[in-house]
């Protein structure tokens, strides 16, 4: 699905890689056994990508409807917002939605970097991998 997203314009690519203002932050906590639901925020798609990375210790705690609206309103990326909505509809579980959205965001960040000619960040290594 992510491969179907049209390439962003340079202007949109800049917004995709940008950090938003505190006022525009997205509530996004974590669910962790023995700690509970802890509050937090996300302030950009690069951070969202890290936040959604699969992690055996905890789960992202985010409202995906609100996430799609936030992508539309704050990042102004209607294609990605619609893709995340579609991914959420297609997923058979909350965790599947997290994984699918993570993949979508990852692909969108790659597209944005490609459009702007920026290198990929150091490593999108999985938790537990040797650094």
């Amino acid at each position: 699905m992510s491969s179907q997203l049209p390439l962003p314009t340079a202007e949109l690519a800049g917004r995709i890689l940008a950090k938003c203002s505190y006022a525009d932050r997205l509530p996004a906590g974590r669910f962790t056994a023995r700690v509970g639901i802890m509050r937090g925020t996300v302030r950009g798609l690069p951070e969202l990508h890290l936040y959604l990375a699969p992690d055996e210790r905890s789960l992202p705690a985010v409202n995906f409807d609100r996430l799609a609206d936030w992508i539309e309103r704050v990042v102004a990326d209607a294609e990605l917002a619609n893709a995340t909505r579609a991914a959420a509809r297609a997923a058979d579980s909350y965790v599947s939605t997290c994984i699918a959205t993570h993949a979508l965001v990852e692909r969108r960040l790659e597209q944005a970097r490609a459009v702007l000619g920026l290198p990929a960040p150091g490593a999108h290594d999985a938790p537990g991998a040797r650094s």
Partner: protein, 712 residues
């Protein structure tokens, strides 16, 4: 007659006069150990029980082991309980508790001591050097100002212990400053002294924790600051003795039963089992650890191993919340999970070294960020701060932030007595009404189990002295919610779950599954009050006094067993089976819970003398005034509930608040069940007599705070 399980002596330290005295444990044995023992010692030796700040010189801090420490009782033998009047809350800092794992209590007992009573205040910094029966109060001027790790390493060197990981036999007579002996020898050991120390946070702020080894900490209660106020830098103990067990065969049999019947097979593990005691060793490090070369690390005698050691050189032995609180900010600057993990674990190390209570930082730092972003806090702002807020998320920011809080500098000056007192100084009470500052009860940080959804957590905390931090029941929320999130089958349906668990709830709620019904219509009920009573009394004895670990006990339901019944209260591996094997007692699970009620009532007598009245037993305003917004974060907060027809189902509990009138009615019910004065919440003479606590009546009477009997 042998005092099985106990070392036999209690060390009483008078820091003011630099005296060490010996008390006979036998006199206090009925309290079990840990919290009960500490509360009884506090009652006896604290001459002013009206004090409201743990830094008052009259405060008495007790550090206590239990009968099972240093034996082979699984997930129970390595914990230490700390009690006394605390620091860092709001208004009255209650007589409170904290605890830490590791090997301190075991070594204390091997040295011949069951507990330490710390009284008075030294005129200059001291540390305590315990080597079996030898107790020396030593000058700590060279240690003052050092971090907790440097302090421990320095003490090892001062004693003459080789640092590093190599070990071998050490003769106590060969150590530096060993007492001269006329005959015999002082014994030998392969172990290093166990040390609990404070860092700069304990010396200079109200956020001080006690740290032992690399990552065992007693954070809540601010006992590091209590020690700092007494000029007590550290206690070191090395012992060469052992603990006499009444029935070693019964102890081994119970261990075997636990392993074979209740714990999932290590050969074919059920990773999705529902149980508390039944899982395999699993580190609770809550940040990505950037290496696979790691292994679990456990408290002495524990079968779990909730911490981790690796070859990284950072983050070793830190677990749970201290590895988690900075994640949210680290993720804003990190480029990968590994980088985020490295940041969070290095920040955990910082906190361990400064000896700071990280619990307050979890909701505390987001609130400070909120103030900064609102233009209220920062350089030249209404709340001046020269911290590099633009670098929030970096190691540099964390280092400066933690140092400011630990040393009472920058914003740490105004927050030194706690975050809520700090908010009042800054005129930010509004944040307690809106929930921008999530400190839910007694000025204590919200844990992550919102009281508006998870009633037993909230009610237990507000009827007690701090965030209760007792995970007796809330695995239901995490397990069921996680299963739903992954779309996994629900292993046990709600009706069966509550019925199985209710079988264990002796003596108050046996076979009363309705106590688990947290639905809107049942949230202020007598049933929920009974559940909270069971939890608080169970914990006061079995967890806080006998020192069974909160991560593993109680085990009420267990999918590793054919009938799904957990180990708690069982005839083969129940808490009481282990206790009796060690002590030779004949306790039942219910006997322990009754003892817990006695201890809980002694606590309430102390709180009453400190100034508690039912009118001030209130949550932070946002718990009443705002709803726990549905699907704001996680999509559901599942808990067993009954519908209008009485059918059980796992139900989402988000979207509600606590109703003031409902909660007041619930308090009345709780007080009535406890036998307390329903108008004041104070203990009554009849209840105290019933619990063999008649000795506290005079003090309450003299203070004009003895409760009255009220008609139902």
């Amino acid at each position: 007659m042998a005092l099985y399980g106990y070392a036999g002596k209690i060390l009483r330290l008078d820091l003011t006069n630099r005296k060490a005295m010996v008390l006979d444990t036998e006199r206090y044995k009925s309290w079990g150990g840990g919290h009960g023992l500490g509360a009884a010692l506090f009652w006896e030796f604290c001459k002013d029980k009206t004090i409201k700040d743990g830094r008052h010189p009259a405060n008495v801090c007790c550090v206590a082991a239990s009968a099972v420490c240093g034996t082979g009782v699984p997930s129970a033998t390595g914990r230490t309980e700390v009690v006394g009047v605390g620091v860092g809350y709001d208004g009255i800092n209650w007589f409170t508790r904290s605890g830490f794992g590791g090997r301190f209590s075991t070594m204390l007992k091997y040295a011949g001591w069951d507990a330490i009573v710390i009284e008075g205040k030294a005129d200059k910094p001291v540390w305590i050097d315990i080597r079996n029966e030898s107790v020396v109060i030593r000058d700590a001027s060279g240690l003052w100002g050092k971090d907790t790790w440097a302090t421990q390493l320095d003490i090892w060197k001062l004693i003459g212990i080789e640092t590093g990981t190599h070990t071998g036999w050490v003769a106590l007579d060969d150590l530096k400053d060993a007492p001269k002996r006329e005959s015999g020898d002082a014994g030998r050991t392969t172990q290093k002294p166990a040390i609990v120390a404070i860092g700069p946070a304990g010396e200079k702020s109200g956020h001080g924790a006690l740290i032992h080894d690399a990552g065992n900490g007693a954070g809540q209660g601010g006992f590091g600051s209590v020690w700092g106020s007494k000029n007590l830098k550290a206690i070191s103990v090395i012992g060469t003795g052992s603990v006499k067990v009444a029935n070693p065969m019964a102890l081994i049999q119970a261990r075997q039963a636990l392993k074979t019947k209740y714990i999932t097979s290590y050969e074919a593990p059920d990773f999705r089992q529902w149980s508390r005691v039944g899982g395999l060793a699993k580190p609770l490090t809550q940040a990505p650890i950037p290496t696979e070369d790691r292994r679990p690390q456990a408290c002495q005698g524990c079968v779990n191993g909730c911490r981790s050691r690796s070859n990284l050189g950072y983050g070793n032995e830190s677990a749970c919340q201290e590895t988690f609180w900075y994640n949210e900010f680290a993720q804003k600057v990190a480029k990968s999970p590994n980088e985020m993990g490295e940041l969070s674990l290095k920040v955990a190390d910082l906190c361990q070294k400064y000896g700071i209570n990280t619990f307050v930082l979890q909701p505390g730092l987001p609130w400070l960020e909120h103030l900064h972003e609102a233009g209220l806090l920062g350089p030249g702002k209404k709340i001046p701060s020269s911290l590099p807020w633009e670098k929030l998320g970096t190691l540099e920011f964390a280092e400066k932030f933690v140092r400011a809080l630990a040393t009472g500098t920058d914003i740490g000056r105004d927050l030194a007595d706690g975050f809520v007192p700090g908010a009042r100084k800054w005129g930010r009470e509004v944040d307690l009404r809106t929930g921008a500052l999530q400190f839910s009860y007694w000025g204590c940080a919200e844990h992550g189990y919102d009281p508006r959804a998870e009633l037993e957590w909230g009610y237990g905390s507000i009827m007690g002295d701090r965030d209760t931090n007792t995970h007796c029941f809330n695995f239901m929320f995490t397990t069921v919610s996680a299963a739903l999130a992954y779309a996994l089958p629900i292993r046990v349906d709600a009706k069966e779950l509550v019925e199985i668990q209710a079988r264990k709830l002796v003596p108050y709620a046996k076979d009363r599954p309705e106590v688990f019904d947290f639905s809107d219509r049942n949230m202020y009920s007598e049933a929920v009050a009974q559940l909270v009573r069971w939890q608080q009394h169970y914990c006061r004895f079995w967890k806080n006094s006998a020192l069974f670990c909160d991560l593993k006990w109680p085990d009420l339901i267990n999918t590793n067993t054919p009938n799904l019944e957990g180990a708690t209260g069982s005839d083969d591996a129940g808490e009481h089976v282990f206790w009796n094997a060690v002590t030779g007692d004949k306790l039942s699970l219910a006997d322990g819970i009754r003892l817990g009620r006695r201890i809980w009532n002694l606590d309430n007598a102390i709180w009453t003398l400190q100034g508690r009245h039912r009118d001030i037993v209130q949550f932070a305003p946002y718990i009443y005034d705002t709803k726990y917004e549905k699907n704001e974060l996680f999509p559901f907060y599942m808990w067993p509930c009954r519908d209008e027809k009485g059918n059980w189902a796992y139900t989402d509990l988000m979207g509600r608040s606590i109703d003031r009138k409902g909660f007041e009615a619930w308090k009345t019910t709780f007080y009535r069940l406890e036998g307390w004065d329903t108008k004041t919440g104070w203990p009554t003479e009849r209840t105290l007599a019933e619990l063999d606590l008649g000795f506290v009546v005079d003090a309450l009477k003299s203070a004009g705070r003895l409760g009255k009997e009220r008609a139902a």
